[in-house]
Structure formats: C-alpha cells, structure tokens
Subunit: 208 residues, 2 copies
C-alpha cells in the first residue's frame, strides 16, 4: 500500500528537514522575525535559492515548525488527562511528562513559548489554533471524569484552557531551569505541581 518514496522525493524531504533543523537551532538565540533565509541555508550548506523549493518565506517555515513541534503532542496530552489514578498521581505524572519532554525537545518548547506571542502573525495564528485544539481535547477527556458531573461545556472548556496555559508555563519554567542545578529543577517541579493541585482543588469545589 505505502509505496517507497522515489530517490528524488526522499532527497528533497531530507533537505527540507535539514532546513527545519537548522532553523530550530538558530532560533535558540533569536526570534523568527529576525531569522534570515540565507542564514538558514548557510547553516545547512546549501544555496540560498534552494530555500524557495521548500518554503515561500521564513514565516512559512515557521508554520511548518509549529506543526512539527505540536503536531505529535496530541496523543501524549490525551493520555495524561485520561490516565488512571487519583488526582495527585495524575498531576505527578503530568509534571514528570512535561519535564521529560522539555529535556528531550528543548528547542521545540522554546520555539513555541517564544513565537506564541512573537512577531509573525501566521505563526501566532497556527499556534493559537493548535492550542485551541489541545484545549478541546482536554475538555473532552475531562468530561469523562466522574468529577465533571453537572459541569457545563463552557465551564469545562475554561478549565481545560487553564490547564493548557499552565502546562505551557510549566514547560517554559523547566526550560529556564535546564542549565541550572538539579535542585533548581526540583524546585520548579514542586511549584508547578502545587499550582496544578490548587487548580484541581478549585475544580472539586467549583459547583455549589
């Protein structure tokens, strides 16, 4: 069914991925709106004009990076929210998962945190859309919990949004502590956990 990619298309995708990787690397010390197309091609070792075979502009590349950074995260999120165990266990697992993901994909996390409010509109829009989808998925998962009995759809969505926002905050805090001491990272994890616990407590007493 899945036919093998021709040599041609395979090579193309390889260069495309090299451009994405190089850009992601360069974006650790600047933002997308200052990323030059030549800068990227130079890092890959390819002619500037080759860039146009893959992206219309650096903004276009940015949108592709959003999909790469967030697209693969949906199953992970859904898993976390609908996992078994009591609230505290779920929180511990969620924080652990965030910390792990920041450790393995720091550049992706940095990119999202940076460009969420960054200077390039199409990229902001794409991030907003993806995060809205996350919130929707979290809402659906929350609706399955017995604690959600009596909750309106609207209230569930506002709670889901709070969780998603806080996940990003926690991820960004972990990122800042990545080059710090082990104790520093432990402190970040403890604060994030307690904040999530407080939100969960608020959830439990929301009605009535």
């Amino acid at each position: 069914m899945s036919h093998t990619l021709g040599i041609r298309q395979a090579q193309k995708q390889k260069t495309r991925q090299a451009l994405l990787d190089a850009a992601l690397g360069l974006l650790e010390e600047q933002s997308l709106s200052s990323l030059g197309l030549r800068e990227v091609t130079r890092a890959v070792g390819v002619a500037p004009t080759a860039f146009y075979r893959h992206f219309r502009s650096t903004a276009d590349l940015g949108v592709a990076l959003v999909e790469e950074a967030l697209g693969s995260l949906h199953p992970m999120i859904e898993d976390t929210v609908s996992a078994a165990g009591d609230t505290d266990e779920r929180i511990a697992r969620a924080v652990e998962l965030i910390a792990h993901h920041v450790g393995t994909h720091p550049a992706h996390v940095r990119f999202i945190a940076r460009e969420r409010h960054g200077g390039v509109q199409p990229v902001r829009d794409e991030i907003r859309e993806q995060l809205a989808r996350f919130a929707e998925e979290v809402k659906d998962a929350l609706a399955e919990h017995p604690e959600s009995a009596g909750w309106s759809d609207d209230d569930l969505l506002m709670l889901a949004g709070l969780y998603v926002d806080h996940m990003l905050m926690a991820a960004s805090a972990f990122l800042e502590a990545l080059d710090g001491s082990e104790a520093e990272r432990e402190r970040v994890a403890r604060v994030a956990s307690r904040q999530m616990r407080l939100i969960s407590i608020g959830r439990r007493h929301w009605l009535g």
Copy 2:
C-alpha cells in the same frame, strides 16, 4: 529642591523618549531581536549615530522599555489585591483594571508578552526580575488577608505566581481581542473572571 533641567538635558531626554516611542511602535509588527537601530532613528528623523548617545544597543533600549512598561504598574497591582470587598468583587475589579490597561497601553502589553520569552536575554532577564517583584508584592498583600492564616510563605508565593501569570495571560487575551467585536471582548473577560474565581476557590480549600 527639584532644580529645573537645563535646556540641554531636556532636549536629550526628549529625543530619548522619541526613540523609545518609535521603537515601541515598530515592535507591534516584529520582535526586538529583529529591530534595527537605523530603523528606529529613521522613524524619529534623527541620524543613526545619535542612537549611541542614548543606548548602547537595541537590547539596551529593550531593557529601558521593560522599565517603562512595568515600572509604573506596581502601585496598581498592590491596590487591586489589597482592595476592600469580597473575592468576587476583587476579581471583577481586577479584570476590569486589566482590560482598561490593555486598552490604554496596548503596545506596552504586547511588548512584555512578546519579549518575556523573546530572543534577547537581557530583556528576558529584566522582565523575569520585574515579574518576580510583582509576585513578591502580591504575596505580601495576600498575607494580609484573613484567608491566608496558616499558609506557609512558600505556598503564598506559589499562589502569587499563579495570579501574576494569569494576569499576563488575561492581558494577552484582551490584546488579541482588541480589534475584535465587543462581544468577543466580553467573552474574554468572562473566561478570565471564571478562571480567577476557580483559582480563588482552590485557595479557600487549600488547607486541610
């Protein structure tokens, strides 16, 4: 006591302020790391070299912008948290105040949201420091509430951090809705209010 500024220094501060204003305007459609020094001086109508009389670099100008945007906010925050009235009244007042501030200083809010995770380290550091001071002040104000009896200093600070983060989220959401319909802005206000209320409920049931 306060002696009048000489004509010389007065003119200098005027140009300095013009540079800051022009930069803030240009930053509505890009981020600091892509802001050129010549771009700023051109917008003011002054020679590129004049820039150096006021700032070492655009990063330096960015740090000055952080102070301009956040420095004057301390009294307002303290007021809000320690205001009289029950929790819901305080929340309504806080959200109203945020919405108003976003309406009167949109460029400042955009700048802070954008550069908080932006590509210029000195600016990120300055914003983090100022926000930490906000959290500290909110913590002190919260400690005065009767509901804070039995709370550890550490827990109060994590709650304060949650409030500060959420204020920024709300401000950013208002900003995105600025060019939208009145109904859209109303919706943002309602969501922000309910999220704050949920946090406050979590606070009330935190102990025990």
